[in-house]
């Protein structure tokens, strides 16, 4: 009888032993999986530093691109990236958070809301180059913004909007219903509930979503090539209406050159890009910590 078997102390001991073994094997596998990522990243860093570190210098950071590798610098691309990221943030954050608040808090969950929801989810999966083509047609040509920073950041905003909306929605969903009820029961309006009860709780998660989205924007190449961000910009853009290039496009151009020196320059530029990422991530950690401390 099976029930008896289960209670037999000898067999029970064996079964527990087997379970422990499986436990151990799985934890080793999990450790391997997490180390693999770390190892790859580490190897990547090493190869970059070996190739690019010797090219990093003040004149590299403050120079303009050149035919001669030893004179080449990344200042226009760096400044272009900054412009792009700031403008993209200005365009996409209010719109993204606004859309998410509408979908989560205001819309009666009817057909239209569901239709919008499905479309946003789909948009998040559209290849980035498609956004580039759209940006070229709408912003560069139709709105005649030219191949300017503003056209680039509007295109980038389209790309990151669905990501911000979805991340914000997830953050809002995590806020317990009881918090909303508490606020309503005190006579708060819908807006007051969102502003004073829900958003403060959701803020750290929203922030994470936003920074991840912006990190994506800072690293994207394809849509900007599609709208025609120039690969050779010998001057620093002064206003959003100027033509521009960004770090990833600069890297892409250098990598596609045959000379070894340009490959190494690309490595140096990648190091700068990665440092930017790390800075951005550090900013998230700091802001999250600050807001958690305030909110708790």
């Amino acid at each position: 009888m099976e029930a008896r078997d289960l209670l037999d102390p000898e067999k029970l001991k064996l079964k527990v032993k087997r379970r422990r073994k499986i436990d151990k094997i799985f934890s080793l596998f999990a450790l391997f999986a997490s180390l693999l990522g770390l190892l790859l990243l580490f190897a990547f860093f090493i190869s970059l530093i070996v190739k690019g570190a010797s090219w990093l210098s003040l004149s590299f950071l403050l120079g303009t691109p050149s035919r001669f590798p030893e004179k080449a610098g990344i200042l226009p691309a760096l400044v272009g990236s900054f412009w792009l990221i700031i403008l993209t943030a200005i365009f996409s954050i209010p719109l993204g958070i606004g859309a998410a608040i509408f979908l989560e808090e205001y819309s009666k969950k009817n057909f239209i809301a569901r239709f919008i929801q499905i479309n946003i989810s789909n948009l998040a999966g559209v290849p980035s180059v498609v956004y580039g083509i759209l940006g070229l047609a709408v912003f560069v040509r139709f709105l005649a913004l030219g191949r300017s920073i503003i056209a680039g950041s509007l295109t980038m905003s389209l790309l990151v909007l669905p990501i911000i909306i979805i991340a914000t929605q997830e953050a809002l969903k995590m806020v317990p219903k009881t918090i909303r009820e508490a606020s309503f029961s005190l006579g708060a309006s819908q807006w007051q509930t969102v502003r004073y009860a829900v958003l403060p709780v959701a803020f750290p998660s929203i922030l994470t979503g936003i920074i991840l989205a912006l990190a994506r924007a800072i690293g994207e190449t394809a849509p900007l090539i599609a709208i025609g961000a120039l690969s050779y910009v010998a001057y620093v853009p002064r206003s959003p209406a100027d033509p521009f290039t960004v770090l990833p496009v600069q890297i892409y151009t250098w990598v596609s050159r045959p000379q070894k020196e340009f490959q190494d320059l690309a490595a140096a530029a990648i190091i700068v890009l990665l440092l930017l990422f790390i800075l951005l991530n550090a900013l998230v950690v700091f802001l999250r910590y600050q807001s958690r401390k305030r909110v708790r």
């Binding site: 508490a182 029961s185 005190l186 708790r296």
Partner: protein, 278 residues
């Protein structure tokens, strides 16, 4: 809504037996039915809740007690599937009427929930949340509201030195008293409590019960509870809700607590109180 309700004069008003009998009806529920997605949940509830008393709503799980309580605070407004019929009068005004401003209504009818649900943020932030929504900005006034509300729930002495620390650091019982203080800060006339002690330990529960008995001096309390002992300890009136085979909840019996617990007129009530039903 007056934030400076003078408590001392209210205290001096000694309530005689006579006054007890002549207490006026604060809430009158008249033929109230509630539907969720066209399914009837509550049918034809009629009862009058006396001012300055504690009315307990008892009944098995899922018999619409919480639904009923939330309806009094119109918390179903945000739900498109919810629909109600009948009327609930607060001092002769039908609060279910579309003409009633729901935000103002909720300043008159406060609510305390099953689980303590303080807002993230400081104790001070929690208590002053409501008044701030209605434009009280003066710091002295907010301080006064904070202190008097916390005093009324006997929490002031425990937290007066840590008003600016997170409310989440308080114990469950303290958090629930904070939530009551938060509701009181609005100077409501009615306080609805949905199983306010179900998440608390026995000692915190007793504290909240004592508090409720003190609070009825100034407010009208409607309390949902699953705990028969609690209902018998605190209630002046008891309403027994029960959903039969058809899953539609009805009011089986409504009477003075002394009557319901000693000599209920409906056999269902008797069975439920004795623990043989639900």
């Amino acid at each position: 809504m007056s934030f400076r309700l003078n408590l001392s004069t209210n205290n001096q008003e000694k309530k005689t037996k006579n006054e007890e009998l002549s207490k006026k009806d604060k809430l009158i529920v008249s033929q109230f039915s509630f539907y969720y997605a066209n399914k009837k949940i509550l049918e034809n509830i009629s009862l009058s809740i006396k001012e300055n008393s504690i009315t307990s709503i008892i009944g098995p799980s899922g018999c619409g007690k919480t639904t009923f309580l939330k309806a009094i605070n119109r918390l179903h407004d945000e739900n498109i599937f919810a629909r109600s019929e009948g009327a609930i009068f607060l001092d002769e005004e039908n609060i279910l009427s579309k003409k009633v401003d729901v935000n103002l209504l909720r300043t008159k009818i406060g609510m305390v929930f099953q689980k303590p649900n303080p807002f993230p943020g400081t104790i001070y932030h929690n208590v002053t949340f409501g008044p701030k929504l209605f434009g009280v900005k003066n710091k002295e006034e907010l301080d006064w509201i904070c202190e008097s509300s916390l005093r009324k729930v006997a929490l002031w002495n425990e937290v007066k030195n840590k008003l600016k620390t997170p409310a989440s650091a308080l114990s469950g019982g303290q958090q629930q008293r904070l939530c009551i203080a938060r509701a009181i800060a609005m100077e409501p006339e009615v306080i609805l409590m949905d199983e306010p002690c179900s998440a608390l330990d026995p000692i915190s529960t007793l504290k909240i019960e004592d508090l409720m008995i003190e609070l009825k001096e100034h407010y009208t309390l409607v309390v949902v509870t699953h705990n028969m002992q609690q209902a018998s300890r605190i209630s002046d009136y008891v309403a027994f809700f029960y959903a039969g085979e058809d899953q539609i909840a009805r009011l089986v019996e409504y009477d003075k607590a002394s009557k319901i617990f000693v000599n209920p007129s409906n056999p269902l009530t008797e069975k439920y109180i004795a623990g043989r039903l639900g």
